[in-house]
Amino acid sequence: MREVAIVGLGQTPVREHWESNLRDLAVTALRDAMEDAGVDTVDGVCVGNMLSGALSEQEHLGSLIVDYAGLDGVEGMKIEAACGSGAAAIRMAVKAVSSGLMDAVGVVGVEKLTEYSGKYSTAALATAADADYETTMGLSFVGINALLMRRYLYEYKLQKEDFSIFPVNAHKNAVHNPNAMFRHAITNEQYAKSKLIADPINLLDSSPIADGAAAVIVVAKENISRYKGKAVDILACEVGTDTLAIDNREDPLWLRGVERSAKKAYYVSGLSPKDINIFEAHDAFSIITALSLEASGFTEKGNAIKFAERANIGINGTFPMNTSGGLKGRGHPVGATGVYQVVEAAQQLRGTVASPIQVENNKIAMAQNIGGSGATVITTILKQI
């Protein structure tokens, strides 16, 4: 197996892009990444996307994006794993390149969630869950996460306000990310007063519905001198799975998909949690950030909030998290999110983010993309070259 690296990065701002369609967002990010890498073609394109069929009446994204990106005749396919679609597409590219089947693969995560009303998009997002036994019982995607958060508060005797540490940090960092949707800070008081969506989850626990596209070019590490873009090593990009329905898990507060994915990633990279300098967590909801920290091995079960407080998750802390705003601050264009996380982590390692959010002395970054409530989890570990 060949070692792999990223040599090109591209991203559109995360916004309500009413003026752009799905294909133009994808093509913009993909061509930006190709330009960064200094290539005019690739051997294949992996498209990460969840809801193009439901919300844009458009499937068959692979060939559509390949065509509009001016890559006539190149192989392209869509990869879907709910909110984990983006990193799942990176995983496919890594497999193609490390196996030797392809030399350069373009990955683009793209999502357009604002074509319809919020309620319609809410119903579409709920298709990440078990349709027969969760969603058709009236459970929303936020509702599933609320069930987890309620139990977490109960088991560990916490107050809801304790969770504000995660969204407050995310918003603080998003201020300095020009591609972020919410470039404003929030306070603990605003969090405490925020409107309930599914009790105990409020608006400021939840990442916003948004449009966007992000792209990376994955190549063999032995070939990086052929490309213009500054290379970043992909030490691991590993998948773990679990049941779709949270009621089918023995302990819903322990995300086995996260544990499996993170353990595999540590194994193939030869690293352990203490080697990670920055962590891009999948903060779709504050509770998921907490559960991810625990099952990834950064802290023990039930201790995520204390860990975050002690470690200091800010830019100058000992464990900087969601340095470009995370899903909460940057926004959560679901099938694009996993690629945004990897783009942002790679920018950190290249040292090219805005100075207030640039982490010094960071060599190793980990990004974790979670599909559904932890049924598909992709952990990617990147290293500075």
Partner: protein, 132 residues
Amino acid sequence: MDIPRYWRLKNQRYRLQGKKCLDCGNLSFPPRLVCRKCKSRNCEPYEFKGMGTLYSYTTIFQAPDRFDQMAPYMVGLIDLEEGVRITAQLTDVLPDDVQIGMKLEMVIRQIYEDGPKGPILYGYKFRPVLKF
């Protein structure tokens, strides 16, 4: 409208019918073709009694389109006596009276109505055990 789905799921929605593995005795709901424990396909239908305790709950304020008219409503995770956990709406109870660990029983209620002219679809919900 997903009438075939409701017809297909009638034994689950009305009778909490899952599966019992004939090789290791493991119970499952929803029914599965392959036993999660021993991977056997030798399973038979098994009806759960519909008694349980509340593991967690939420009140949904922003609901998916189809359930919008009913919001706010409550959904819970219920630990059935037989040792299986399921997801269901809670009914006949006010949010302030709900607590983790409370005893619940299954009832059949309307899940949703598909528009003014569409069919009304029924299924299991859970309510606090009635005391006499």
